[in-house]
Amino acid sequence: MSMTLAEKIIARAGGRDLVEPDDVLWVDVDLAMTHDSSGPRRIWPSLKELGVGVWDPDKLIIVADHFVPAQDVGSARILQTTREFVEAYGITRFHEAEGISHTMMVERAYVRPGMLYVGGDSHSLTAGVLGCLAIGVGSTDMLGIVATGRTWLRVPRTIRVQIDGSMPTAVAAKDLILTIIGDQGMDGGLYRVLEFGGDAITEMDIQERSVLTNMCAEIGAKSGIVPADATTVAYLADRGIDVSEGPFSDPDAVFEATWRYDASELLPVVARPHKHDDVVPAGDAGYAPVTRAYIGACTGAKHADLVMAAQVLAGRTVAPGVLLQVAPASRATLQEAIEDGTAETLMAAGAHILSTGCGACPGIGSGVLAPGEVCISTTSRNARGRMGSPEAEVWLGSPYSVAAAAIAGQIIDPRELMAASV
């Protein structure tokens, strides 16, 4: 019998030769991650109650990213609890304010192709960009994993997402995934694994690909995966890790469906306020005025995102009445942007550089929105109240579109500015 890549990984983790969609089985987790919000403060009291410790302190990564830097005594206490947990259980890989957990998992190459990786956050899917099966869970699921190294899974059906052609100028992976979500709806991939392939994917770098796996959460998917190819192998080799391409789905594996797109037909798009599947071309957004432009989160503030924004912002100035904020996805992102001049370009245009972390994206950190504000953001979600006041509006777009709106003071097709700059 043939299997998809996701099925192969689950079968191996469950000690089975074969699994089929809808099988429910207990599996051994290869690697787990939890953060300051979902992790120690929720899990530790239960671990004490159960009278058990951490199943393997080398296989549990802890990242403090939601409450950094502490805004008040309450968040400082959460961070303190996180550090105390790390110390008490001898966690070997802990990062505080070094970057957003999902960005770190990829940037530090903590996951490897073929792994079963479970993270205590819905955007844990991001790590599937390196060819692992990356699944997000809540706190009690993570408690079970932290205590035993095991969890239960229902085997998902796999949808093949085939992206042919080449991406046009000023169109980003963000535009591609928003287009897919707009077409399929926010539950269009519910319980499914999306496996990405095609020429446009082959041509994309790891950071851009990771926007696709990241936002599989916004289509309801259990996971998104890009099987390890030459680009993956080279990315890992740069980090001192020697792997070969694959594993892959079997040639005759059964996919539930294939979604086909021609990348060359894509446009810059935006999601309208409150529903991330309400997607329209950026040029059809009615020139909606904005008060805030936010470049942040695991979705939209990696080095590649900052470079895209800088391409639009170079030699220009943010419109009066607009606040442009940039919260880099990691310290390494900021370091790289400083070294190559990207940060200088952003600041010369008027951007405020915030500290690294989840920031305003989950409505917790710096830069949240007041009632009546209209924001365009490179983040992944725009549900009412997500980034602050329920009376604020959030549009989602690519770094090009967010930077263009910051300059124009209203939402425009970024190509209007980019054509003028050449």
């Binding site: 429910v24 089985l25 207990w26 919000s37 979902s38 929720r42 239960s46 109650e49 159960l50 009278g51 058990v52 409450f67 309450g74 968040s75 959460i78 205590g120 956050d121 819905s122 844990s124 997000g136 869970v137 809540g138 706190s139 009690t140 699921d141 408690l143 079970g144 205590a147 035993t148 239960w152 229902r154 926010m186 539950d187 519910l190 319980y191 309801g220 259990k222 529903k275 989950p362 409505g363 917790i364 949240v368 979600r381 549900a383 009412r384 109240g385 997500r386 602050g388 329920p390």
Partner: protein, 166 residues
């Protein structure tokens, strides 16, 4: 498994964890969070609910973040079960793990707010007590039923660790 009977509170499609429990409350403890449950879509909901009531939703209930405070807050407000056309997958897992019954039923559109329903999780059916109308629901696999019967994943882990079950 159990039979649950309660009054219906009706919600639409794609009820997001950001409206169930807005992020700004996540710094707090459960009682404080539960006082604001569903505030993003129905302010004052926590004061309206009686213990044992049932939420009936549309498709993709609980979409959004992994925050387990979403089902915990719903449970702490007194809700005994959620019936929806489909659930966001992490929310579905979180419900099971905290011992809040999630039932998938394709015809929730025909159930009205204020009606009284009886849910039989083993038979996989939802009956509107007022009219006798019976709605087919998906039964829960035995692996999942075992977690709910234990009262959630943590009590099940406790039993496993204490060696009561393998």
């Amino acid at each position: 498994m159990t039979v649950i009977q309660g009054n219906v509170w009706k919600f639409g499609d794609n009820i997001d964890t950001d409206v169930i429990v807005p992020g700004k409350y996540l710094i707090g403890d459960l009682p404080e969070i539960a006082a604001h449950v569903m505030e993003g879509v129905r302010p004052g909901f926590a004061d309206l609910v009686s213990t044992g009531d049932v939420i009936v939703g549309g498709k993709n209930f609980g979409t959004g973040s992994s925050r387990e405070m979403a089902p915990r807050a719903i449970q702490a407000a007194g809700i005994a079960a959620i019936v929806a056309q489909s659930f966001a997958r992490i929310f579905f897992r979180n419900c099971i793990n905290v011992g809040l019954v999630p039932i998938e039923c394709a015809t929730t559109g025909d159930i009205a707010e204020g009606q009284r329903v009886r849910i039989d999780t083993a038979a996989g059916e939802v009956v509107v007590v007022d009219t006798g109308a019976t709605h087919r629901a998906l039964g829960l696999p035995p692996e999942i039923g075992a977690i709910l019967e234990a009262g959630g994943l943590e009590p099940l882990l406790k039993q496993q660790i204490e060696g009561k079950i393998s």
